[in-house]
Amino acid sequence: MGELLSIKNLKTYFYTEDGVIKAVDDVSLSIREGETLGVVGESGCGKSITAMSILKLIPNPPGKIVDGEIIFDGKDLTKATDEEIRKIRGNKISVIFQEPMTSLNPVFTIGDQIIEAIVLHQNMNKEKAREKAIDMLKLVGIPRADEVVDAYPHELSGGMRQRAMIAMAMACNPKLLIADEPTTALDVTIQAQILDLMRDLKNKTNTSIMLITHDLGVVAEMADHVVVMYAGKVVEEANVYEIFKNPMHPYTLGLLESKPILNQDKDRLNSIPGQVPNPLNMPEGCYFHPRCSKAMDICRREQPELCSVKDGHRVACHLYREVK
């Protein structure tokens, strides 16, 4: 399996009135063909912005990709022209967004919105595109697909909308599917349906998936490889079994322990003390040190780098420096 996408030292900053927000600060990661990469981390840690940066969907102003490379299919997307990016969007790389309620345009029918993408990227005429759209809707398990094509988004339930989004994203057989918290807004029973669907599709088309979520459970179920982010940085990276079996970074550890697990009883939950740092006002040194129970002096001064600890397991923490 070759590398499909590799992000190197990506920095995306927002220049706001109150200062510079380093939403993505020196992030490197890569996705291989046919692989599912899980990206986890808490709200605001830069997961979505990393994903948006790939397709240059960062609102500008105030956002800007400051530095780094995004190599997709051998091409650096940060240097691509708008026209080139446009051709990749929706075609080779598709996105499913978090909010199925607001991500579909309320004034166009589901069909219109899917057809639009097909016509644009696959040189089909309208009728053919419509047929294809209906096929796609059937594929994602929407009953009565030939009626639903003509429905407006508000006429569908959340689960159906998200499926329509997936149909739209998959319509052009993308090589990479970015799923930005595709199920957070849904119920567990529906979430299970959607995740099942995505897995099926992936197996059929060998699409790579970048799955962004903060739910470790979802990651455990879906991902092959996991990246943990905290405050704009990657703090740990490993394959999925490794991460859950042998978490290294205190933040990953904290995360795994703070969540009550259904079939385990605990008297008290472990928790990571303190608050998520203000992106405008990051602490010196390791961003996690104020909440870290194992913080050392060096953590207050120096930012740890992401280094390989075991094969394929990389972590950014001073605790493991020696191991290198």
């Binding site: 706001t16 009135e17 105030p62 003390p273």
Partner: protein, 314 residues
Amino acid sequence: MAELKKNTNKNVELKGAKKEDIMSPWKVVKHRLRRNKLAMVGLYTLLFMIILAIFGPIVQKYVFGITMEKIDLYNISAPPSLKHPLGTDEVGRDILTRLMYGGRISLTVGIVAVSISVVIGSIIGGISGYYGGVVDGIIMRLVDIFMCFPFFPLLLMLAAVLSDYKVDPKYRIYFVMIIIGILSWTGLARIVRGQILSLREQEFMQAAEALGLRDRRKIFRHLLPNTFASIIVSATLGIGSAILSESALSYLGLGVTPPYPSWGQMVQVATDYYVMQYEYWKWIPPGVCIFLTVMAINLFGDGLRDALDPKLKR
């Protein structure tokens, strides 16, 4: 829970607050406003106008001995000169002085009228939005009725009633302001109501209900302060339109009573073809003054809107 107990000590210094720069919502607005150049231009123009209107006539009176009623029969319809920087009108009164005096009236009209409409509008809008249902239905019909109100007949009636009660004409303009205010609250009431209808559904209002707070407190402490943004914007813009209304009324001969000038009344002389063509100093300055003032208010109001809208944060 460990850190929870860290500062259970009641005597912890409240001074801690000072260390960090606390930005109240208003400070944030001020801060943002200050960075908006257009809005600041508006603000300074407005301040300039206000200062001129307040102190101008005083200076003219005590320094140059010119009052707005003073007739200079030797300089009738005189073009601008050193003595009369903006010339004189057809009975020889100094236009600059009258202009500044007119500014007092126009600005007071704006402020008084808007204060009235803001008070009425926000209270009625608040009540209507808070109680909803039948109360809201009735109030909104009332608003509809008010919106269909004939403006001019009302003012005519008012003028007659005022003269019945022998109100000093000097103060009559205030009644015009009141009427403008009374007739223009409807828009604001609608805006406030609309916002409150949605604010009412917000969880902090449910919380207030759960705390068992009184209605009065809920309306005036919780709901209305959250509509301040639109109230203030609508007020600043309202001042502009009230000034225009007064001008238009004066222009139609229904505004202030001579010899007290208002800008609208001063522009009116331009209906005379000759004045329009050859005596520009009589009508251009008041027209420009109205324009500048309203423009300044609008610029400021617009900047305020941007500053108050958290979504517009740059």
